[in-house]
């Protein structure tokens, strides 16, 4: 049995992106069945460096864009209706990923210890880059 690997990309294969984090993203039970279109989080690049933050719920992850040691191809299994034949089609290539390896930082406000003589000012909770 032979499965041909086809590629109609021509010169350049469309480049896909990977955002990779340790652990899993939990979806609130209410939304389990209708994940589609649901926002997961916000990806930010705070400076000109290739460092990134990813804010999911009240967690903030810090990571970086890294070049993959070896490229990965995105393959799609195609079953032709007219024949038994199965083919694999190259539909994309991945050369970089945004990898988050750190422990998430919880974005919750912490009360500041009171300072004598000064008015107690509540600490502003850390906010994501975009409202």
């Amino acid at each position: 049995m032979q499965i041909q690997i086809k590629c109609s990309c021509g010169d350049k294969c469309p480049e896909w992106a990977i955002v990779e984090l340790q652990g899993t993203v939990e979806v609130q039970p209410h939304f389990q069945e209708t994940l589609q279109n649901l926002q997961i989080g916000q990806l930010c690049r705070p400076s000109s460096q290739e460092t990134y933050t990813f804010t999911v719920g009240y967690h903030e992850l810090t990571g970086a864009k890294v070049k993959l040691k070896k490229p990965q191809l995105v393959l799609k299994k195609v079953k032709h209706s007219d024949s038994e034949r199965v083919e694999l089609e190259v539909i994309g290539i991945i050369r970089q990923r945004i990898l988050f390896k750190t422990r998430p930082k919880a974005l919750i406000s912490k009360p500041q210890p009171t300072v004598k003589g000064k008015n107690k000012v509540p600490d502003a909770s850390a906010v994501p880059m975009e409202d």
Binding site: M1, P14, V19, Q36, R45, Q72, V78, E130
Partner: protein, 395 residues
């Protein structure tokens, strides 16, 4: 507080990969997010990319076998590597398989929202490991129906074509690249007859060789300069088909340079001819060394010299009492997969000295493993005294 995004409306993978400084983008589940089991990731060396992108790569294997990926000349095992991380796969915004917007021509939004959508969370990726071609199956297939003399006169083609394999049948069943498959056929001395790849029965080859030698003597031909058309003619007149006659020259001789087509000249290969006769003599089992050598010298053609070194990898010699015995044990009858090969060798003999062992393992190839590495992996090496020969036994 809204941060400026240099590319308003930029979506998909390109938005993530080109995210500018002091910018941000929401990451969402794609409208078509799902398990998409038909989408998989394959990690490979940069150097293999041109082959895949130019469609020169194919996956081979039967449903009950582990799949391999073949380029023109190499074979790779395909392994799945799981990853406990969450790998969010984001396609480019114009990926036709996964349109992320439903474009309504009446409602053209001049500023489509910037978002990068995740189509799937990948459980891991596949990777390639170069392996030796799995050619033992080729031998098994071709040995199902070796070409025998009965077929010379077989009229009913349909009868004879059952259980036979053409090239396209072989690539369907053998897990090897095209180049490796061709080498495998050559190593088996296979011949293509009527489009079917065949190995020829040993008795048949023996008959043809003897006829060739007999006629060489009759016609006073030099075995170092045999005319192809003369040889084929004489074999044809004895009932051998042209294709088989040519194959006889190919198996036992070497083409001399110069000359084209049927006017080629051939020289018989002394080693191949002598080995053939040795195998014939030992067909009945082991023989005493003295008797064997005497019979062997008698049977080989005039002008050829037989020596025991020629039979490395073909016979084993043993001392039983005062006598030396020789018995057939051909490396060509052993499996090509290293673990199986060593298992057979140690079944035959529990201890091997290097000089005896080497001819039976020198053809083993495992990409990434040297011959020392092979020994280390499959044998235990002992050396009774510092000056004696090392001895190898099973691990």
């Amino acid at each position: 507080m809204e941060q400026p995004n240099p590319n308003p409306g930029c979506r998909g993978a390109e938005a993530v990969l080109n995210l500018g400084s002091s910018s941000s983008i929401p990451i969402s589940y794609h409208p078509l997010f799902g398990s998409h089991d038909d989408i998989m990731l394959l990690e490979l060396d940069e150097k293999l990319l041109p082959d895949i992108l130019n469609q020169r790569v194919v996956v081979r294997g039967q449903p009950d076998e582990d799949a391999v990926l073949c380029t023109q000349s190499k074979t790779y095992a395909i392994k799945f590597v799981g990853n406990s991380n969450s790998i969010f796969l984001i396609p480019p915004s114009d990926q036709s398989d996964f349109p992320d917007t439903i474009v309504d021509p009446n409602e053209k939004d001049p500023n489509p929202q910037a978002v990068a959508s995740v189509i799937k969370v990948a459980p891991g990726n596949m990777e390639l490991v170069e392996v030796a071609p799995r050619l033992d199956k080729l031998k098994i297939l071709l040995l199902e129906n070796p070409y025998r003399s009965e077929e010379d006169t077989e009229m009913d083609l349909e009868m004879t074509e059952r259980g036979l394999y053409k090239w396209n049948h072989l690539v369907d069943r053998v897990q090897a690249s095209d180049d490796e498959l061709r080498s495998g056929l050559q190593a088996l001395s296979a011949v293509e007859i009527n489009g079917y790849w065949r190995v020829v029965d040993e008795k048949y080859m023996d008959m043809m060789l003897r006829m060739l030698l007999h006629n060489s003597v009759l016609n006073d031909w030099s075995l170092e300069e045999l005319g192809q058309d003369k040889v084929v003619d004489v074999l044809k007149s004895d009932g051998f088909p042209c294709k088989l006659a040519e194959h006889c020259l190919y198996v036992y001789g070497q083409k001399l340079s110069g000359g084209t087509g049927t006017s080629c000249m051939w020289k018989l290969d002394e080693k191949r001819v002598c080995v053939h006769f040795a195998r014939e003599i030992l067909r009945g089992g082991r023989k005493k060394m003295d008797n064997f050598m005497e019979e062997w010298k008698r049977k080989i053609p005039e002008g050829m010299e037989a020596s025991l070194e020629m039979l490395e990898g073909e016979v084993l010699t043993e001392k039983l009492g005062v006598d030396s015995w020789v018995r057939p044990f051909s490396v060509s009858s052993l499996p090509s997969e290293p673990a199986k090969r060593f298992s057979m060798l140690f079944k035959e003999r529990s201890k091997w000295e290097w000089n005896d062992l080497h001819p039976y393992i020198k053809d083993l190839t495992v990409p990434g493993l040297s011959s020392d590495g092979l020994l280390l992996k499959y044998t235990r090496r002992t050396q009774p005294t510092p000056t004696s020969e090392p001895v190898f036994c099973a691990r």
